[in-house]
Amino acid sequence: MNELLLDVQNLRTSFPSAAGRVAVVEDISFQIHKGEVLALVGESGCGKSISAMSIMRLVPKPGRVETSARIFFQGRNLLDLDVPDMRKVRGGEIGMIFQEPMSSLNPVQTVGAQVVEAIQLHEKATAAAARDRTVALFKRVGIPDPEQRFDAFPHQLSGGLKQRVVIAMAIAMRPKMLIADEPTTALDVTIQAQIIDLLRELQEELETGILLITHDLAVVNELADRIAVMYAGRLVETAPRQELFENASHPYTQGLLQAIPGLAKKGERLHEIQGVVPPPQEWPVGCRFSSRCPIRLAHCADQPAPEIERSPGHISFCHALEKEAVA
């Protein structure tokens, strides 16, 4: 196994509500090794983006990461760092790519200047040197005519090119790790395929660890080494990619995989997960999926789901599986 990059232990992030503080992310633990892509998968509101923001300490106030959590990045607990040190980590050792390229770029500054700024924020580089590096980065991420594009404003570039600029900025400091939050969701399918390729190449070349956050299981299949599935603020199942797709054991993961149209033809019925995700105040004390689960047992709603190891590296949080394991 490669060197351990990120070790998240018992992450818990809460927001205040009328009924007191509600944890929208609870007891999340995962690890990312060098050169590994971990996909954090789930539907909107499941807490996957808040988990990523918690790692970068960017949770908007009044939300807060509970101090019982530990987020070790290369041996240092990020939650103990002071503000200037944390700033060096962000964009330096950990690069970030967000969903909407337009909103992560400044509309009144040329894209080149924005990458130069990012470089100069982290190290002393002359304007000329930073410019050369930016042009080289643009070339690396496949932007045609990088010299000309340096002086372009974001609105003059297509969605795919803007996302390439954002990726160039994210890898400018050769980060050890990338956090990519829905990096291809806003893009057309042809552009999405190109960006997936680019991320694969960069990951191989720089041996970056990637935390990929997405709701799109097909993108996960294309990019991830391991998958962690979240539901209502908690992990429900984690496994290597192929194992998860072929032997998903948690009823939520199974439902999610069956709901994808995939090769279903007209006239066939798609599998539905009954009901909707309840709002955080109404999350069950026990297994959070119990209110929608087709194989629910009597005690599921009251007792937190146990951690069951299905096979090495494949963990599922489910009462029904416990029974199966004992029997």
Partner: protein
Amino acid sequence: MKTDQETPFVRVEGLKTWFPIRKGVFRKTVGHVRAVDGVDFAIKKGTTLALVGESGCGKTTVGKTILRLIEPTGGSIHFDGADITSLSSEALLPLRRRMQLVFQDPASSLDPRMLVRDAIGEGIKSFKIATDSEAVTARVAEYMKLVQLDPDQMWRYPHEFSGGQRQRICIARALAVEPEFIVFDESISALDVSIQAQILNLLNDLQERFGLTYLFITHDLSVVRYLADNVAVMYVGQLVEEGTTEDIFESPQHPYTRALLKSIPSMNPKERSARVEAIGDVPSPSAPPPGCRFAARCPQVFDRCHNEQPELYPLPRRLSRCFLAEKELTST
């Protein structure tokens, strides 16, 4: 209701929608954005045509032009046998009830200050399907049940519902006036996978039950196979390939359709997609190239493609706008 399956229910011929580009103090027209530039297709009653393409290809404009929400620049639109291309807005009014539109984002297509009962009831009242308040309420309840919403929730505001429920409200609103033709413009793109499955099943059920005709506009090819009978692929204002869903997915002819299908990320855990070839950008619809519009990105391009415009050639089981299709046609 007509039962004739053969005459198309909705048909467009040579449809063109151009937007003027104005410049200067006098707003002089200096050119046109050819958003839709000669589109032909027909949809039979009770079937679904999926119109697919990348953002900016003009697919949304096609949908809005068919519903006469945008004035066509040229060509004709036929609805249930009648030419509606140049009907006045008064003459269109009775037809409006028969054709409806469901948008992508239910949050922005519902008035946040309108009760769900009034949002769904508005069409019922304005088309005088029911006039007194109680009858409207009863009808709203009926349609909420139809889309699997709890009628007791009709006195709530849209923000009290989840995204999937809001999209159901939009569908109920469209259905409440008993339309025969519905245009879905990226209506499920913003929804989560599990909710998408619920809505897709609902749309299929409704179509079967009421014999509805759908035009489904989307960039998401993975849902097309499940929902559509026929597929029309659009590229920079023109259709490049058209055929049954099965033919298009199993044996695409046009290089663009092939590239599009190849770009769909694979769901097969044993096999990830091969690397895609880097292809250039989409040409601007205000200055399309003189030849084939896909020539600049086409892996099978040859000289003729840059100079001459291909037509939609009728291959045995599809139409394709590619010189290679013409070659195939003349060789057989």
